[in-house]
């Protein structure tokens, strides 16, 4: 039976409201690195759809995912539906790379490259620009909803919405001709899918980067959940050197008699002056000094914060630093050449090589031969036997190709293509299907013969292609 007589019965209901986090802005090498990544990522994402590119057939957009015509255009690379294994290869490569990096330096992806982190970062910068730094923002939070608060919060959300909208629109522009979409979008002339995509992305960007923030990392992202599986004692983590920071007598703020390292060490007090700057700068609102936590996205801002304080005091930096659990316990530096790292590294390199090979060794054209199965063979008026084949030719080049089709393995057979053509022409970046009749004199000896279809480009632009098939006599 349940009782409500327990003194620890929570005053809070069973649902927990999110407490807004107002991280303090900080400078330092990790912040600078994050800013560079941010600039590069934003530059690529927002400008790429507008880059023009000349190609023989297809849109003049450098990167475009053209769903209606079933082509992905990546500069000079055109990905056809039958090349979709490249996408699988790319995803496998991404996974191996992620495992490799995680095994080595922990959640580097989360802290520096994840779009949730990047967009949250930008939204926080907007917040800081409009509402001021941490203290001002916290004061504003506590303030009643007066004119100033409405104006500042309103302006923040307005700017967020603009960024979110442009994010959504840019994403949509990857799937259509960007300048055309721009015009049609704002003249309310674009397809509904464009508005729906932009709308959904605007909303999710605004919610995820403006309001949900660390909640996305903690509750929604599966990666946060399985990160621990990939960690071991030698994985580099953003960690607090507890031995140095706490000493024997724990951390103590600066005060009379505890101002210098010598004084502190003499009394067994650690180097941490409990200034809480590392907590204030944390975008997920945790205290790194509590050790490895699910919420930590490994962004390194607490390292910047602590280093800044240590430098100011003239003490050695690195009280919070990238260190492995083992290093903190024994002082032993991580061994980078451990089996797992090498394994993931080899897998990453192998996946890259295979992917590149897959891209560059793609046949410029391919064809398939499917025998008509009903009827498998037909007796003709002359007594000869006829088999029919559906031949489909895909031309992946940016120029038209002209083919001659012949068969090998049945010298007495004749081949004719339905239609009145001199050659099998396949337009640039296109495909054609032809019905082919093959006739051979009746052969009472065998039921079937294995044959090859040979497709030769008339102008020798590509190597001849072969396809196995069989000819059925009875």
């Amino acid at each position: 039976m349940a009782h409500h007589d327990d003194p620890s019965y929570p005053a809070e209901p069973l649902y927990q409201a999110r407490e807004p986090i107002h991280p303090k802005a900080i400078h330092g090498r990790f912040r600078r690195f994050k800013d560079i990544v941010l600039l590069v990522a934003y530059g690529v994402f927002f400008l790429l759809p507008w880059v023009r590119w000349e190609r023989g057939v297809g849109p003049d957009q450098a990167v475009m995912f053209d769903i209606p015509s079933r082509r992905y255009y990546l500069f000079d690379l055109v990905i056809h539906p039958q090349d979709m294994f490249l996408l699988a290869g790319f995803l496998i490569l991404a996974a191996w790379l992620l495992f490799f990096v995680t095994g080595l330096v922990g959640r580097a992806f989360c802290g520096y490259f994840c779009f949730q982190t990047l967009w949250t970062d930008v939204f926080m910068k907007v917040e800081a620009l409009v509402q001021g730094d941490r203290n001002k923002r916290m004061r504003l939070e506590k303030q009643p909803w007066n004119g100033e608060k409405i104006a500042k919060k309103g302006l923040t959300v307005a700017i967020w919405t603009l960024i979110a909208f442009w994010t959504g629109f840019t994403f949509t522009a990857y799937w259509a001709d960007a300048p055309q979409l721009f015009v049609s979008f704002f003249t309310l002339d674009a397809v509904s899918a464009a508005y729906i995509t932009t709308g959904i992305l605007t909303a999710t960007t605004l919610i995820a980067a403006g309001f949900a923030r660390e909640q996305v990392c903690i509750y929604m992202c599966p990666y946060a959940r399985f990160q621990s599986v990939m960690f071991d004692k030698e994985t580099l983590l953003v960690s607090y050197d507890a031995a140095r920071g706490e000493g024997e007598a724990g951390r103590q703020p600066l005060k009379q008699g505890l101002m210098t390292l010598e004084e502190r060490h003499a009394q067994g007090v650690g180097d941490c002056i409990d200034c809480k700057l590392c907590v204030q700068v944390c975008p997920t609102g945790i205290d790194i000094r509590d050790g490895l936590q699910l919420e930590c996205i490994s962004c390194g801002l607490c390292i910047d914060a602590c280093d800044q304080i240590m430098t100011k005091r003239g003490w050695p930096t690195g009280l919070i630093r990238y260190a492995s659990e083992q290093e903190l316990e024994t002082g032993e530096k991580p061994n980078l050449l451990k089996f797992r790292t090498i394994g993931y590294g080899v897998a990453t390199v192998a996946a890259t090589v295979l992917l590149l090979y897959g891209i560059f060794a793609r046949a410029p054209a391919d064809f398939s031969v499917q025998q008509v199965r009903q009827p498998l063979f037909t007796t003709l008026a002359s007594g000869d036997i006829q088999n029919n084949y559906n031949v489909k030719i895909n031309n992946k080049l940016q120029e038209p190709l002209e083919f001659d089709l012949a068969i090998d393995g049945l010298p007495e057979a004749t081949l004719s293509v339905v239609g009145d053509f001199d050659s099998l022409e396949v337009p640039a970046d296109g495909s054609r299907k032809y019905l082919v009749h093959v006739r051979a004199p009746r052969d009472a000896q065998v039921e079937r013969r294995e044959i090859q279809f040979v497709l030769t480009e008339e102008n020798g632009r590509i190597e001849p292609l072969e396809h196995d098939a069989s000819f059925v006599f009875r």
Partner: protein, 306 residues
């Protein structure tokens, strides 16, 4: 998640106690999660309003969303129908006005405007016509002629070979599709003592049997009454749909089914001679549009080649 701690530094529990000492940690769900649940409830209510949802009695709530499509009324006038949202209506509408339907319409227009010779020279149009012809064939012709046009000996002609009872001009094929065919060979009254020779003679035209001397001349003599339709040499007559008896193709008498058994072959021929043939292909003109019939003709004509 780490456990939330209360002020005493103990781990906070929900306050429920079972069996005197079992407590449950309080790891509260974030509130926005609860809101997301409420949003799904709102979503479902909006859904009920827009789409068919709740059954009642022998009916159901229809929702306010509608689908419009055109139908041809009894007077031949096209009119727009508006129905509550349902997938059948959606399908009808898509078949009329979706981008694919419009693209198909455009291609059908091309076929309509081109002559058969022009279509044969244009790979894309030919491919389209063959493909549409294939589907039309599946809908209307395959029930008798078979999915691949292979037919059935004695009943339905084989369309996959290169023999054509009425010739293989496109115009003839379209004409036969539209108007149907009465395939008729009257039963022949051949005397008992002549019929074996006649049958053997017919088989000899295509090398299925050997005949010589007296028997050959008796057979040939008896064939005179056949020659009116099948021609003096048994080469057939396309104007009447009389088949060529001198080629390797057998449409009615199952000669290939006999293997090397000549007596069986003779019986097959005798059966046809004695009983005649009465076959009918219905007219499809009122079920196909002109362009459909043309595309069907292209498909059928090219299925077996010349």
């Amino acid at each position: 998640m780490s456990q939330t701690e209360n002020k005493q530094g103990q781990v906070e529990t929900t306050g429920h106690v079972w069996d005197g000492d079992l407590r449950e940690y309080n790891n509260p769900l974030p509130r926005w999660w609860l809101w997301a649940f409420y949003v799904t409830i709102v979503f479902s209510v909006v859904y009920w309003i827009l789409y068919p949802a709740w059954p009642y009695g022998d009916s159901y709530t229809k929702g306010i969303n509608t689908v419009e499509y055109t139908v041809e009324g009894e007077d031949g006038e096209e009119k727009t129908v508006s129905e509550h949202w349902n997938t059948r209506a959606l399908f009808t509408r898509d078949m009329q006005s979706s981008p694919s339907a419009l693209a198909q319409e455009e291609w059908v227009g091309k076929v309509k405007d081109m002559s058969f010779e022009e279509i044969e020279q244009d790979p894309d149009t030919l491919q389209f016509a063959m493909s549409m012809g294939n589907y039309t064939f599946g809908d209307y012709c395959a029930a008798c002629h078979g999915a691949g046009g292979q037919g059935k000996i004695g009943l339905f002609p084989n369309l996959a070979d290169n023999a054509w009872l009425y010739g293989n001009s496109y115009e003839t094929i379209v004409n036969k599709i539209n108007n149907g065919i009465q395939g008729m060979m009257p039963a022949q009254n051949v005397a008992e003592d002549k019929i074996d020779d006649l049958a053997t003679y017919v088989l000899s035209l295509s090398g299925e049997a050997e005949i010589s001397g007296e028997a050959a001349s008796r057979g040939k003599q008896a064939f005179a009454s056949c020659a009116g339709c099948h021609g003096a040499e048994g080469k057939g007559n396309e104007a009447m749909g009389a088949p060529n008896l001198a080629d390797a193709i057998w449409g009615v008498a199952d000669v290939p089914g006999c293997g090397d058994d000549v007596a069986c072959k003779v019986d097959e021929i005798k059966h046809v001679v004695n009983n005649g043939i009465q076959r009918e292909m219905p007219a499809f003109g009122d079920r196909l549009t002109e362009t459909q019939a043309r595309m069907l003709a292209i498909y059928v004509r090219q299925m077996g080649g010349n």
